[in-house]
């Protein structure tokens, strides 16, 4: 076997091994999307009911609460960025990071200081490399987040928003995550979670099909303020939980797509490499034949010469 042919053969072998790995990753990601989607579905009833309850309190009571009223001059905002722990998911993490950068610029343009909170190793690495300050970060659960994880993430954010901005608290709470639209489409989005804007709640109600419902006058137990006090942290947790779940589904979908194109590319590469290998083999054979023919005729010439 010629040297050229051997090189091609070795490369084909290497690419085939890579293709097997990417194919396996694609399959794993595909099966996890379904699981993640099911979790998103399972968390919907709670989110919907909680949304209704928050709308009911916010519209039905005149209670002023730090979490529902806008600060007159918001000085500081918290941004929660949700990325993945692992790579090989195409542009998934970098798209989310870019969306967070845009939001940061916008908030900075409005004269607000931005505190960054990060979920996922990729986001932490991005900020760490640029030596930017991160208020707090969490890693290790982006594949399949549990409600407890959402609670852990929400706790410092709620604490920050309840503090006065003069004492290091924040006035606004934004969340950047990748929304799962379908298997093929995932969009990075940024949402303002707090303070609540009632139009946003209406939009949420529209999605859950309760738009236009006239909310009855509720009797609050023990009081509207207490209910709101207890309700809003749960609301934040539930929103974060939902965002984490959607982000997980999006991550798997992005990884599946990235791995599918990697597998396809490996297939193309194998095809063109084996064409080259065939050509090299053919060239080798042709060369060998011409060498034999040349050798034979040289031999014939030599014997013909010696006969004379």
């Amino acid at each position: 076997m010629g040297a050229q042919l051997r090189v091609y053969k070795r490369r084909i072998q290497a690419v085939t091994a890579t293709k097997k790995i990417t194919k396996a990753m694609e399959m794993i990601a595909a099966s996890r999307i379904v699981k993640a989607q099911r979790k998103v579905q399972a968390s919907m009833p709670y989110a919907t009911e909680l949304n209704r309850a928050v709308t009911a309190v916010a519209t039905g009571s005149s209670a002023k609460h730090p979490l529902t009223t806008e600060a007159e001059s918001p000085a500081r905002a918290a941004v929660l960025l949700i990325t993945s722990d692992r790579g090989l998911a195409g542009g998934y993490s970098s798209n989310a990071i870019k969306a967070a950068e845009r939001l940061r610029e916008r908030l900075a343009g409005e004269g607000k200081e931005v505190d960054t909170y990060i979920v996922g190793r990729k986001g932490v690495a991005y900020y760490g490399f640029r030596e930017r300050k991160v208020a707090e970060s969490w890693t290790g659960f982006t594949d399949s987040p549990a409600y407890g994880d959402a609670k852990n993430v929400a706790a410092p954010l709620i604490e920050a928003i309840q503090k006065d901005s003069a004492e290091g608290g924040v006035d606004e709470l934004h969340i950047v995550f990748t929304e799962f639209v379908s298997m093929m489409t995932q969009n990075p989005v940024d949402n303002r979670m707090l303070p609540l804007s009632l139009d946003k709640l209406d939009e949420g109600a529209e999605e859950s099909g309760t738009k236009g419902e006239i909310l009855p006058l509720f009797d609050f137990e023990p009081s509207a303020e207490d209910v709101l006090d207890a309700l809003l942290p749960r609301y934040v947790e539930s929103r974060i939980y939902n965002a984490l779940l959607q982000a997980a589904a999006s991550e798997h979908a992005a990884r599946r797509r990235a791995m599918k194109s990697a597998t396809d590319n490996a297939g193309d590469l194998i095809k063109s490499l084996s064409r080259l290998a065939n050509a090299a083999r053919q060239a080798e054979i042709t060369q060998e034949i011409s060498e034999i023919v040349g050798g034979a005729s040289a031999l014939a010439d030599a014997t013909a010469g010696s006969d004379k």
Binding site: Y46, A53, A146, Y147, L217, D219, E221, D226
Partner: protein
């Protein structure tokens, strides 16, 4: 036919129980509260404790609820809880072990959770 109310018992990550009921008893911050069809609209904070649902078939469903909310309007009642378990799903031995462990570790939150589970089983 007696009036009924529709109950949805949902935990953060799943829907635990839903169906028609004639009476729901739950513990709010200011004491036990019973809700029957036609109750005035209500929104309350739940304490950790057992929730008893009398279904329209005459059966009783008991669930352990770890904090949450009760909201009632238009004969629709929703019980929202971060964690909710039906009494039938609770493994008594495991809960007892958890209670022992929590007591020896002086982990108040875990002790309360285990206690709520056991109380829900006792009501059943």
């Amino acid at each position: 036919m007696a009036a009924e109310l529709h109950v949805e018992l949902v935990a953060a990550d799943r829907s635990v129980w839903s169906g028609e009921a004639t009476l729901v008893v739950a513990r709010t911050a200011s004491g036990d509260i019973g809700v029957m069809p036609g109750h005035q609209p209500l929104l309350g904070v739940l304490e950790s404790g057992p929730v008893t649902i009398r279904t329209s078939e005459g059966g009783t469903v008991v669930a352990a609820v770890h904090g949450g909310f009760i909201s009632f309007a238009d004969d629709k009642l929703s019980l929202l809880a971060e964690i909710a378990e039906l009494a039938d799903e609770i493994d008594v031995q495991r809960a007892e072990r958890a209670l022992e462990r929590a007591k020896s570790d002086t982990d108040a939150a875990a002790e309360r959770r285990a206690d709520v589970r056991l109380r829900a089983v006792a009501v059943r």
